[in-house]
């Protein structure tokens, strides 16, 4: 039985640019088969196997669907419409893991030196300093700010090592966005997201997404860079035990570097968003 709170959320189900006519993309959401297709009038529709149309919204290059009654509008990402930014769809990658573990990994910096070695981090620069985390009740989102980390190659366009500043944002249960120092514009942030489609509690399709200030780097290079980063994480995500994200303390041991993850788990538990989570300690 899937909790109503889970059904009432928005989830990504396709890249808008790749949606074709009926039957379109045959996929699943929260374990239920769905079809994502273009109607004759050109609108995008999402239907269950029983032919039931569900709520759809198009945003940030992706099709978002809600199987229940949307509890709120899809989160705002104003940067996506900001002039001068390049929006880069980085495809979709399937991962045999809980959708929540995929999001949590995206919020984590301490793994950079070991998993994204010589790109997003490198020994001996492993220390994660204090940063600020809050659950913002006004927007109902988890935010981490003032995160700093030394990075050998922070972006495709970065020339050398820099201390990068990050802000992290959990905008929906399975969608997270980060804002990081832009190597090309000192007063702007690069925006990188992952939108995670929960196929099942332990299986997901992950759509990396970028909105960057970078007029120079060819599109394919930007896609390769982001796919490289995400695929370095994939073998980690498929080898965490248990597969589901434990929400009860005691099962896993956080430190100060993990405050974003602690807040994310607390927020999920408080909202009853337990799809892909292990609630009772095994």
């Amino acid at each position: 039985m899937i909790p109503q709170a889970v059904l009432d959320q928005w989830y990504p189900v396709a890249m808008t640019s790749l949606v074709g006519p009926w039957p379109g993309r045959e996929t699943q959401l929260l374990g239920r088969p769905i079809m994502v297709f273009k109607t004759q009038s050109g609108a995008v529709s999402v239907q269950t196997a029983q032919g039931q149309a569900v709520a759809v919204t198009l945003a940030y290059g992706h099709v978002w669907a809600c199987l229940g009654t949307p509890a709120q509008d899809l989160f705002a990402l104003p940067e996506a419409a900001q002039p001068g930014r390049r929006l880069v769809d980085c495809g979709v990658v399937r991962v045999k893991c809980s959708p929540l573990r995929a999001v949590e990994n995206f919020l984590d910096i301490a793994h950079f030196p070991f998993v994204h070695t010589d790109v997003l981090g490198a020994e001996p620069h492993t220390e994660v300093g204090r940063y600020e985390v809050q659950i913002r009740d006004d927007v109902d989102e988890v935010w981490a700010t003032k995160v700093h980390f030394y990075q050998p190659q922070a972006a495709k366009s970065a020339a050398g090592g820099i201390v990068t500043e990050y802000m992290y944002r959990v905008a929906a249960p399975t969608a997270a966005v980060l804002y990081k120092t832009c190597p090309n514009r000192t007063n702007e942030w690069d925006v990188i997201g992952i939108f995670v489609q929960p196929l099942a509690e332990d299986l997901c399709d992950v759509y990396p997404y970028m909105a960057l200030f970078d007029d120079v780097t060819p599109q394919a290079d930007l896609i390769h860079f982001q796919q490289m980063i995400f695929l370095q994480d994939r073998s980690i995500l498929e080898n965490q035990i248990p597969r589901l994200l434990p929400l009860d303390p005691g099962m896993e041991i956080p430190t100060q570097a993990d405050l974003t993850s602690v807040a994310y788990r607390r927020w999920l538990k408080r909202k009853g968003l337990t799809y892909g989570a292990q609630v009772v300690a095994a």
């Binding site: 070991f114 010589d118 020994e123 060819p218 695929l231 073998s235």
Partner: protein
């Protein structure tokens, strides 16, 4: 020398790895294989009608098979990587190059299925992959009994580089390597080669570098 490249392709990685081990600098041209399917575009098929990657271009030479690229790079910069000169050795190296094609159509396809939604009979791919791994394990068991570690002769060769990527990436396609101890030790030997480079799915062997802290002395 230009390599039309995709970061997640095991076959492209074969060529990048060989070039790195030989100290050859490649000019990489990123091809939007996924999601753009740029390798199937008209422009790309003017270069390679098969619409496959990698493609290696050096002046007038255009190569579209990764094992041929390994031969070419080794001929230019490291003939010792071609194996020993005997007819038997030369033929055995060719045998492994062809075998690497079987790895690609089994383990490689399983990986593309599990990761990028490629259509495939996943059970058949994995079964064929395990069959390949058993052959590899049997050979490497024999090799170790003779006090060696690489596939052919006493030194690494293009045979090892041709076979390594799809084997190392097998878990991406749901094929675990746990039951192949000699394959595990062979992979470690390849990963320990000077100037070895990784690709996503193959992590750095951090143990090759000393710990920057004192905790490892505990």
């Amino acid at each position: 020398m230009i390599l039309y490249d995709y970061i997640l392709s095991a076959s492209c990685y074969k060529v990048r790895l060989m070039a790195a081990l030989l100290g050859i600098k490649l000019d990489l041209v990123a091809v939007d294989f996924h999601p753009g399917r740029a390798h199937k575009s008209a422009a790309f098929r003017d270069l390679n009608p098969a619409g496959s990657i990698p493609v290696l271009v050096d002046g007038d030479l255009v190569l579209t098979e990764s094992t041929a690229m390994l031969v070419y790079l080794a001929q230019i910069a490291g003939p010792q990587w071609l194996g020993e000169a005997s007819p038997q050795s030369a033929a055995r190296v060719q045998n492994w190059l062809a075998f690497s094609g079987r790895l690609n159509s089994s383990l490689g396809l399983a990986r593309l299925h599990d990761m990028l939604h490629f259509p495939a009979d996943i059970t058949a791919c994995r079964t064929a992959g395990h069959l390949c791994l058993r052959e590899l394990e049997a050979h490497l068991t024999q090799v170790r009994l003779e006090g060696r570690i690489f596939l052919e002769g006493t030194a690494p060769s293009i045979a090892d580089i041709a076979c390594f990527p799809n084997v190392a990436l097998a878990p991406d396609g749901g094929v675990e390597l746990r039951d192949y101890p000699s394959v595990r030790l062979w992979q470690r030997a390849v990963r320990s080669l000077p100037q070895f480079i990784e690709m996503p799915g193959i992590h750095r062997l951090h143990d090759l570098k000393p710990a920057p802290h004192s905790g490892a002395a505990a």
